[in-house]
């Protein structure tokens, strides 16, 4: 690990100020991604600003009946919070599908949002990688790309975003509240993570001198049906090949709202609201779910090794929708897929 200066921010403004004049500075939350990347010399901050003393650890109801969750709330505390368990079970389920109990105890909301890709070339500083070293090339495009993107990739980058939590947040529809030198702003989750294009070094639209204060969830509709289905090479403690977060409301067998997000398939959690509209007003049937999945994946493109993910994603979407519709969400401990 390279040497760095360590500071402990006493206020949000201090952290922002330091970020503004020190381009080599990075914020430290749980450290489970940043410290790991520093050990590989993938991240080489010259200054670490520890934000763990900042007052960003609360979960509060908002005036519109939604929920405001502080950036430093740990993934475990969030998944086990009674309001999350009861009103946002999709989010609890997705968080518990990720990482391990130990990692979730350290990992925070903001750190999870900003975790970086697990592409093996990104992690290996001896190889080129446009995300790590802009302009150096993308060996994954024609190399080991079994885990890589099938949607929204570019010539320059085929990496995926590895988070489970963010897939649920995409389906729920979440705002990210951030603060910079000129005050606070909110970014919708759909606009927060970006597609790689020709600037894959930028994972998100967060500016270098901004700090995430927290996230805001909209009020949870009653009687919502959900499932988070994660498919991976081993049943636990592994990143998704493909995952699907499904939220449905159904009245008399007819779908009134459908929100579906995919993980493991793109540079960001993948959602297509235009395709979702097609499900509305139609019966919650397998045929309709298939048709929707085909629309959702209509622009998918296979690389040399990941063609299987297209069919896997189609089946995962259909199965997650069926699980949601029948009120039998995927269990994150009994791994049989029903």
């Amino acid at each position: 690990m390279r040497r760095f200066e360590y500071l402990r921010a006493a206020s949000i403004d201090q952290a922002i100020e330091r970020l503004s004049f020190d381009p080599g500075a990075k914020l430290l939350a749980g450290g489970t991604n940043l410290v790991d990347l520093m050990k590989y010399d993938v991240a080489c901050p010259t200054t670490i600003i520890d934000i763990n003393d900042l007052p960003l650890g609360d979960i509060k109801e908002t005036s519109d009946g939604g929920l405001r969750i502080g950036a430093l709330v740990t993934n475990s505390d969030l998944a086990f919070h009674p309001v999350i368990e009861n009103r946002y079970p999709l989010l609890a389920s997705a968080i518990l599908a990720g990482a391990s109990a130990q990692l979730r105890n350290a990992a925070t909301v903001a750190g999870n949002l900003l975790q970086r890709t697990r592409c093996s070339y990104f992690y290996d500083v001896m190889t080129p990688c446009n995300k790590r070293t802009p302009g150096s090339g993308c060996p994954a495009r024609n190399g080991l790309n079994r885990n890589h993107a099938i949607l929204g990739a570019s010539q320059d980058c085929v990496a995926t975003h590895p988070s489970d939590m963010c897939v649920a947040l995409a389906a729920i529809g979440t705002m990210i509240v951030v603060q910079g030198p000129n005050g606070a702003r909110s970014i919708s989750l759909a606009d927060f993570h970006r597609l790689p294009g020709d600037t894959p070094e930028q994972d998100t639209t967060l500016r270098n001198n901004e700090i995430i204060l927290g996230i805001e969830l909209p009020p949870a509709p009653e009687f919502q049906r959900y499932s988070y289905l994660k498919i991976r090479d081993r049943l636990s403690y592994a990143f998704a090949l493909v995952s699907a977060a499904a939220l449905l409301t159904i009245d008399d067998g007819v779908i009134s709202t459908a929100h579906v997000a995919l993980g493991g398939v793109a540079h960001k959690p993948w959602r297509d609201t235009a395709a979702e509209v097609v499900l509305v007003g139609r019966p919650a049937s397998r045929g309709n779910f298939h048709q929707f999945a085909s629309m959702l994946l209509s622009r998918s493109e296979a690389l040399s090794q990941n063609g299987f993910k297209i069919e896997l994603a189609r089946r995962t979407v259909v199965r997650a929708l069926e699980q949601a519709a029948s009120r039998t969400p995927q269990s994150q401990s009994d791994k049989r897929v029903h």
Partner: protein
């Protein structure tokens, strides 16, 4: 902002009930501090990247991978390592159950397994065998003693022998 220098920083931790101080560089992980500075070598280094759980300790009662923690960032915390859990004469119920259920072979993963299981029990979420298996998935065992490990934890959750589990 409290600006601290690049070189030695002071940390104070309460480790297994004893206050310990050290002067360390900020890049030192809690795992390396425990093993190299405090000679508490019960906590093991497997992968050093959060992928195996051998380094699991309890920080303020919660199980965490000490290899991904910068020690300076946890200044003031209470740490429990395997050295603070039971003694040869008075085993912790989990240690006792691990012995009886043959829940180890080489023993390298065991300190992390025990700390993780203590964390699991105090979380109070995992009850069934499937739930225990899932909640222990952050602890790998190269010897494959998983069946014994789950048996031991299941037994302690159902009926803690000897002293109560903390």
């Amino acid at each position: 902002m409290e600006v601290r220098a690049n070189t030695a920083l002071h940390v104070t931790l309460t480790i297994n009930g004893v206050e310990r101080k050290a002067s360390i560089e900020p890049c030192v992980t809690l795992l390396d501090l425990l093993r190299e500075k405090f000679d508490l070598t019960g906590t093991k280094k497997g992968c050093d990247h959060g992928q195996c759980g051998a380094c699991t300790v309890l920080i303020n009662g919660k199980r965490i991978n000490s290899c991904l923690v910068l020690a300076v960032s946890r200044d003031g915390s209470e740490i429990t390592t395997i050295e603070g859990i039971g003694t040869a004469n008075e085993l912790h119920p989990l240690q006792d159950a691990f012995v009886r259920h043959d829940a180890l072979q080489c023993g390298y993963c065991t300190p992390g397994q025990i700390c993780s299981a203590i964390g699991l029990i105090s979380e109070g979420k995992a009850k069934t065998r499937d739930e225990i298996r899932e909640a222990m998935s952050g602890n790998l065992c190269r010897c494959g003693a998983y069946i014994g490990i789950v048996d031991a934890i299941e037994e302690v959750i159902a009926a803690p022998r000897r002293k109560t589990v903390r």
